[in-house]
């Protein structure tokens, strides 16, 4: 018993793990709640694209020594403009235009990062380094969590209505565009902050995975958000343990744990449906 307790408690005695745990808990709160709206508004593909497309900004920040947060924000703005312009090209499917714009930006980021003159450390940008979280990163995560929870609380009714039937929202006295822009701003801020911990390639696992799992096991929004936060927290903390004991990369371990929980939810929901169908077919 004591051995189990020691195994559970040991990692947290190390300051870097404790700091990573706090960062993961804050990001779980954000991604579990905001992620539900991303999933319900079918923004998963857009969130993934944006998180990848800010790579050149991150690499330039690493090369010039400006804070990654600033580089990420600039990269995100460039990505939004590029996607906006690409969508306006006549005769091309908007999805194809976005794919071209995003891969161009990812390519540009890789080109910069892999140039002979670039310092090593590209791995940290692509896959994050949750165990290298600084006090500054943690402060940014606290600010993000406060902004996201307050923002979602204020926008709740409008988002609910606009997501349910956008065409009718204006007739019911809500302005869907305003609510949606607010949601996109929160998603953008989350990507920029979370990229520090989970990296450019893995951040989407945290944004979409827990909420998708939650959607499978809940049929009301608030319970879905609670399930999303718990899943993100379990995946985040579980990933840190895995990383500590198996010596695996922190961000990748977290992403892996979230995927495992998602598959568990798929199993539970499929099993539940099958059981209901059997029960319904019985006498």
């Amino acid at each position: 018993m004591t051995a189990v307790w020691h195994a559970l408690a040991d990692p947290w005695s190390e300051p870097i793990v404790a700091l990573a745990g706090a960062e993961v808990a804050l990001l779980a709160l954000v991604s579990g709640t905001l992620g539900c709206w991303i999933v319900l508004y079918e923004l998963s593909y857009g969130a993934e694209s944006l998180s990848h497309a800010l790579l050149p900004g991150l690499v330039l920040a690493a090369l010039t020594g400006i804070p990654l947060l600033l580089g990420g924000a600039i990269g995100l703005l460039v990505a939004i403009v590029a996607v906006g312009l690409a969508q306006r090209i006549d005769g091309i499917d908007p999805d194809a235009a976005i794919a071209v714009a995003i891969t161009s930006l990812v390519g540009l980021g890789a080109l910069l990062a892999l140039a002979p003159a670039s310092p090593p450390g590209i791995g940290g940008i692509l896959f994050g380094d949750v165990l290298a979280v600084t006090d500054g990163d943690l402060l940014a995560a606290v600010g993000l969590a406060v902004a996201v929870i307050a923002g979602l609380r204020l926008l709740h009714g409008r988002l609910l209505l606009a997501g349910f039937d956008r065409a009718t929202a204006r007739a019911l006295g809500a302005r869907p565009l305003l609510a949606e822009l607010g949601l996109l701003a929160l998603v953008a801020a989350t990507i920029v902050v979370a990229v520090q911990a989970l990296g450019n390639l893995l951040v989407v696992a945290l944004l979409v995975g827990p909420a998708s799992a939650a959607q499978l096991v809940s049929n009301r929004l608030v319970p879905m958000m609670c399930a999303g936060v718990l899943t993100a927290l379990a995946g985040g903390i579980g990933g840190l343990y895995l990383s500590y004991y198996a010596g695996t990369a922190g961000g990748a371990s977290i992403a892996g744990a979230i995927v495992a929980l998602y598959l568990l939810a798929v199993g539970a929901s499929t099993g539940g449906r099958a059981a209901r169908a059997l029960g319904g077919a019985g006498p």
């Binding site: 709740h156 009714g157 609910l160 009718t168 204006r170 019911l172 009301r220």
Partner: protein, 254 residues
């Protein structure tokens, strides 16, 4: 005389190109049921948008004297959405609350009362997507009632629901008219429209408006739907019962 709820005069509206709807003029009073007939693209949705104040008119006068509530087609609502019937009805409170406030106890009470009026108070906690088409339609009507709307605009309320549910929606429409609501109901079904007091026929312009018994002549119907008519066997000489024979596709079930 019943109170006037809305009056339109010489209204033309559109989306930048040629007008989607021209020269529309009519009145709605308390307790009136008006069937709005017309083909797809005939201007029914445009008219509703104008009356709801979300589409400006390019010409004419719109005088809306009561709160307008819109009831969309349930066929278009999302069934995968994590909300209860009560949550959907509460969406109707948004327009009357300040933007930072969420619906509280008084709003929940009104929402339950609206659900009771449409006969669904016992299913208030049921997930919206699990309800039948007819029940979902009644929930959407309750949401419009939650807006305290005196004038209700219903977009194809019978689309995609079975006959028994349709009859319940039909009863509800009559009940609401008796309670003093004005109702405008967009429909493809000519027979249904005859059951209501008045009809408004649209085909990118106003073809006719008046009491359904005298207004729905063969000429008016042909002009409204731009199609040749076949009189159903058994229908009287002056009866407006008729089936449409559209030029290209089969008649869309109402």
């Amino acid at each position: 005389m019943a109170e006037l709820l809305a009056e339109l005069e010489g209204v033309t509206a559109g989306y930048g190109g040629p007008p989607a709807l021209e020269d529309v003029g009519f009145r709605v009073r308390e307790g009136e049921r008006i069937g709005v007939l017309g083909p797809n693209g005939g201007g029914k949705s445009t008219l509703f948008k104008v009356m709801l104040g979300v589409l400006p008119v390019t010409r004419g006068r719109v005088d809306i004297r009561a709160r307008c509530g819109f009831v969309p087609q349930t066929e278009r609502s999302r069934l995968d959405y994590p909300v209860s019937a009560l949550d959907v009805v509460l969406m109707g409170a948004l327009g009357t609350l300040p933007w930072w406030r969420r619906p509280g106890r008084p709003e929940r009470r009104s929402a339950l009362a609206a659900l009771e009026l449409v006969g669904l108070e016992r299913l208030a906690r049921r997930t919206f997507g699990e309800l039948s088409g007819g029940q979902r339609q009644r929930v959407l009507i309750a949401r419009a009632l939650m807006q305290d709307a005196k004038l209700l605009l219903l977009d194809e309320p019978f689309a995609g629901i079975d006959a028994a549910s349709g009859a319940r929606v039909m009863d509800l429409i009559d009940q609401l008219a008796l309670r003093g609501h004005g109702l405008m109901i967009a429909t493809h079904d000519i027979e249904q429209a005859t059951a209501w007091g008045s009809v408004l026929c649209l085909n990118r312009r106003q073809v006719a408006f008046g009491p359904s018994r005298t207004t729905l002549t063969r000429e008016v119907l042909e002009e409204t739907h731009g199609a040749a008519l076949v009189t159903l066997p058994g229908s009287g000489r002056d009866a407006p019962q008729a089936a449409l024979q559209p030029p290209h596709h089969h008649h869309h079930p109402g």
